[in-house]
C-alpha cells in the first residue's frame, strides 16, 4: 500500500490542505460551504475524531472504525 502517513498532530494541517474545516459539533465540513458536511464512502458524515485519512477518487474520506478499515484493506488487494 503506497501511503503518506500522518499522526494526530497533523490532522488540522491536512484537513486545511483539502479545504476542509471542523464545525462546532466536531464534523468535518467544506471550508467554502460550512453547511456541507463531508461524507465517508458509507454515506455517513465524518467527525474529526473518526477521520483516518483520504484516498483518491473524488477525495474519499476514510473513517477509523474497524469496518471502514476492513473495507479499505479490501480495496487495496
Amino acid at each position: 500500500m503506497k501511503t503518506l502517513i500522518f499522526d494526530k498532530s497533523a490532522k488540522q494541517f491536512i484537513l486545511s490542505a483539502f479545504d476542509k474545516a471542523v464545525d462546532e459539533s466536531g464534523f468535518i465540513i467544506e471550508k467554502s460551504d460550512p453547511s456541507q458536511r463531508v461524507l465517508a464512502q458509507d454515506g455517513q458524515e465524518v467527525e474529526e475524531k473518526d477521520f483516518a485519512g483520504i484516498k483518491k477518487g473524488s477525495e474519499v474520506f476514510i473513517k477509523s472504525d474497524i469496518i471502514s478499515l476492513i473495507k479499505l484493506s479490501d480495496s487495496l488487494k
Binding site: L4, S9, I67
Partner: protein, 267 residues
C-alpha cells in the same frame, strides 16, 4: 516526481533521497522538534510546524497532489497499523472460512459485522485490548452489532450457529427463512448466554438471569452461560452464582483465565 522529491525541490532541502527508497514518510506537527525533516528507523518525519508560513499553501498543495496524482493513500498512523494487522490476520488465519461458509446465508451487513468480530476475537485471544474495536462496531451497527461481536468472540458462531445451519439444512423442509428466523432469535435474544458488561447493573443482571432461565426451561434448555471480562464483571457473575445457587441442579462449571470467566449454570 514523488512527494519527497517535490518537497525537497520546493523548500530547497539538502537531503540525499537516493538512500530513502522504501522509507515511510510521516507528517507530524510538533513545535518542540526543531527542523523540518528528521529520519529515524526507516521513517522520514516531515514536521509541518517547521514550514515557513509563506510556504504552507504550496506544501499543502503537494500533499493534495500526492493523493490525487501519485495515488498515495493519506492515512493516520494508528489506522494504518490496524489495516496492516487486519491484512495479516486475514491472510494467515482460517477465520475467513467461517465468513465464506455464511456467504449467501446471512445478510451482507451481518457478514460485515462477523468479519470484523473475527478480527476482534483474534486481538482478544492474543491478550490485546478490544474495547475501542467493539465500540466502533456497536456505534455503527447498534445492538445487533454488539450481539454478533459478543457471540463471535465467545465462539458461538463455530459452536452453535454453524452446526445449527448444518442440522437445519439436512432437513427435508429446510428453507433459508426458517434458518434466518432461528438465527435472528439467537442474535437478538441469545437465550443460551448472558454477556456481562461494565454497564450491567446487578439488579438488571439478576432480572435477565431469571428471565432467561424461565424462557430456556420452557424450551427444554436447562443451562445458561454467563460471560464476563475483567474483575468487576467476574465479581458480578460470582454474585449471581451465590444468589441463584438454590435453583441449580448441578454445580456450575467454570472456564476462566486471569481476566475472563465463563460459567455454565444448570437448572
Amino acid at each position: 516526481m514523488n512527494f519527497l522529491e517535490n518537497l525537497k525541490s520546493l523548500l530547497r532541502i539538502n537531503i540525499d533521497l537516493s538512500k530513502l527508497k522504501n522509507f515511510t514518510v510521516k507528517l507530524i506537527n510538533n513545535n518542540s522538534i526543531q527542523g523540518l525533516i528528521h529520519i529515524e528507523n526507516k521513517t522520514v518525519f516531515v514536521n509541518v510546524n517547521a514550514v515557513d508560513k509563506n510556504d504552507i499553501p504550496q506544501v499543502q498543495a503537494l500533499i493534495k497532489k500526492a493523493v490525487s496524482e501519485e495515488g498515495l493513500i493519506l492515512i493516520e498512523d494508528k489506522s494504518k497499523q490496524l489495516v496492516d494487522e487486519i491484512t495479516i490476520f486475514e491472510k494467515t488465519s482460517h477465520s475467513l472460512d467461517l465468513v465464506e461458509f455464511f456467504k449467501g446465508k446471512l445478510s451482507s451487513v451481518d457478514l460485515e459485522i462477523l468479519r470484523a468480530s473475527l478480527f476482534v476475537k483474534d486481538v482478544y485471544d492474543k491478550g490485546g485490548q478490544v474495547g475501542d474495536l467493539k465500540r466502533s462496531i456497536i456505534i455503527r451497527h447498534g445492538d445487533r452489532g454488539r450481539n454478533i461481536v459478543n457471540l463471535c468472540t465467545a465462539g458461538y458462531f463455530h459452536s452453535i450457529i454453524k452446526p445449527l445451519y448444518l442440522e437445519m439444512v439436512s432437513q427435508a423442509d429446510f428453507t433459508s427463512e426458517k434458518f434466518l428466523g432461528t438465527y435472528n432469535t439467537i442474535i437478538m435474544n441469545y437465550p443460551f448466554a448472558i454477556f456481562v458488561s461494565s454497564s450491567t447493573s446487578i439488579a438488571s443482571l439478576e432480572a435477565e438471569v431469571e428471565r432467561k432461565m424461565e424462557i430456556n426451561k420452557k424450551y427444554g434448555i436447562n443451562n445458561l452461560n454467563l460471560h464476563g471480562i475483567g474483575e468487576d464483571n467476574i465479581e458480578k457473575i460470582t454474585h449471581i452464582i451465590e444468589k441463584f445457587k438454590a435453583k441449580f441442579t448441578h454445580r456450575p462449571t467454570y472456564e476462566s483465565e486471569r481476566r475472563y470467566m465463563m460459567v455454565t449454570i444448570w437448572f
